[in-house]
């Protein structure tokens, strides 16, 4: 005991530290914060998981010869990149269920609605990432595939898109990091992800240390990912 405990006690005796980052309180709320972090990760992973195919589809639409598809994609991307995620969450989880009450009958509709809004939001950003990725592939690749008899879509699927994955992995990871942090907005809908958990715990303990705890947990998730992006970009720079 002893040494660590006495340091912890000493720190807690300093008022500012006690209020802001009390070791004792942090230790006691940490398991609860981790519960919230699980939900945060679940939302981010599911959002990205559905956002990627959605974004890929929007990117292919954007590059299509058909004007209708291009227009659809533009409207989608402009709307979700041009409005705050918080407003999108309000629309998805407050406005739509009022307009269409049947939505409220879906069990856990706050959860699924949250995932859906995150997915369509991240899909809009992913679309731009894939569009840039696809456009960066030399046009000779499409020509070679077409000359072999591939249809446009098959050429996209078997030849072009597989080549974009290596190039889009760093920006996609960045997008995931952004989404992970953005899940904190779900607290506005009383979803008990990490940020909301910290708010509850802080009023329960009458102490703001849980917010510091939440920040530390966010950092523990994002810093390895940003390092990973840096590493991938370096490798990509070498191989190109």
């Amino acid at each position: 005991m002893s040494f660590l405990t006495s340091i912890s006690n000493w720190l807690d005796s300093i008022p500012v530290i006690h209020q802001f980052a009390s070791p004792k309180i942090l230790a006691s709320v940490f398991p609860f914060l981790l519960e919230g972090a699980k939900l945060t990760i679940l939302f981010a992973v599911l959002g990205e998981l559905f956002g990627i195919p959605l974004g890929l589809l929007a990117a292919v639409f954007k590059l299509s010869k058909l004007k209708v598809l291009r227009a659809l994609s533009t409207i989608y991307v402009d709307f979700f990149r041009g409005t705050p995620l918080l407003v999108q969450l309000y629309i998805g989880l407050f406005a739509l269920p009022i307009a269409f009450p049947v939505i409220q009958k879906v069990p856990d509709f706050t959860f699924y609605g949250g995932v859906a809004v995150l997915a369509v939001n991240s899909g809009a950003y992913v679309a731009e990432i894939f569009r840039a990725g696809i456009e960066s592939i030399h046009k000779g690749q499409m020509e070679a595939a077409r000359s072999l008899g591939f249809s446009y879509l098959k050429a996209m699927w078997y030849v072009i898109i597989p080549q974009t994955f290596r190039r889009v992995l760093p920006p996609l990871t960045n997008e995931f990091i952004a989404l992970l942090k953005d899940t904190a907005l779900l607290s506005a809908l009383a979803i008990t992800e990490l940020a909301m958990k910290a708010r509850y715990l802080s009023s329960w303990k009458a102490n703001v240390s849980p917010f510091m705890g939440a920040a530390l947990i966010y950092l523990a998730m994002t810093i390895p990912l940003t390092r990973l992006v840096a590493y991938m970009e370096k490798r990509l720079a070498i191989s190109d």
């Binding site: 070679a144 000359s147 072999l148 008899g149 591939f150 098959k154 030849v159």
Partner: protein, 242 residues
């Protein structure tokens, strides 16, 4: 087998092909020469619709590829194309480059496609390189993989668009040798090339193009040795002086 009838092609206001008429019969090896910007490559690219013709018709086995009702993907399978810049798929190995189209487009059984792919790679002198990625192959090797890739679709005619122009001089011969064997095997070929020696040796007909028209055509030895057209003479004079 291939017939071009009064083919015109505009890029914007710029008329690149000004009425091309050409018939390619089975087994012919046509050598197309001409200065850069003469429309040779554009003509070749029109034959498998990588470029849309502005006016005129192109028939492959009697089917008009300029008619939107005809299935261009099916017609393209009859026409193999090899590019100046190889355009191998960099994420696939040599063997996968050769098998992807038969497997994905023609729905050939993968095993069968791989057996044939190995055979084709051996035929272009690349046995043992099956699992190499393009980045690990020399330019000449890459171009030979590209030829094998086109052959895998069992085309009736092969188009070669300056396929040795991007190669280091010492790698040109290995690619030309593959093309020579192909010609000797009876493949119908249209080759845009600057390799006069190759043209004289394997070509059954040579065409000189300039300013979007076919200026002169003849058997290669005649066209190269006794060009009648002034422009042909000037062009050959410059090329042979190099």
């Amino acid at each position: 087998m291939i017939e071009l009838v009064d083919v015109h092609k505009y890029f914007g206001h710029n008329e690149v092909l000004k009425g091309i008429d050409l018939k390619v019969k089975q087994g012919e090896v046509i050598v197309v020469i001409g200065p850069s910007g003469s429309g040779k490559s554009t003509m070749l690219r029109c034959i498998n619709k990588l470029e849309d013709v502005t006016k005129g018709h192109i028939y492959i086995d009697g089917q008009d590829i300029t008619d939107p009702k005809n299935d261009i993907n099916a017609l393209r399978q009859k026409v193999g194309m090899v590019f100046q810049s190889f355009n191998l798929f960099p994420h696939l190995t040599a063997l996968q480059n050769v098998t992807i189209a038969p497997v994905r487009v023609q729905k050939v059984d993968r095993r069968q496609a791989e057996d044939k792919g190995r055979e084709l790679l051996a035929r272009v002198g690349l046995a043992g390189k099956e699992d190499f990625f393009p980045s690990k192959l020399s330019g000449g090797q890459q171009q030979r993989v590209a030829i094998a890739r086109a052959l895998a679709m069992e085309p009736e005619v092969m188009l070669f668009d300056e396929v040795t122009s991007a190669l280091d001089p010492e790698l040109v011969k290995e690619v030309l040798d593959v093309m020579k064997n192909l010609a000797l095997g009876g493949m119908t070929m249209v080759c845009v090339t600057h390799e006069m020696g190759f043209g004289r040796e394997v070509g059954t007909r040579a065409i000189f193009m300039d300013e979007g028209v076919i200026m002169e055509e003849n058997i290669p030895s005649e066209l190269f040795a006794h060009p009648r057209n002034k422009r042909t003479q000037a062009f050959l004079g410059k090329v042979l002086a190099q």
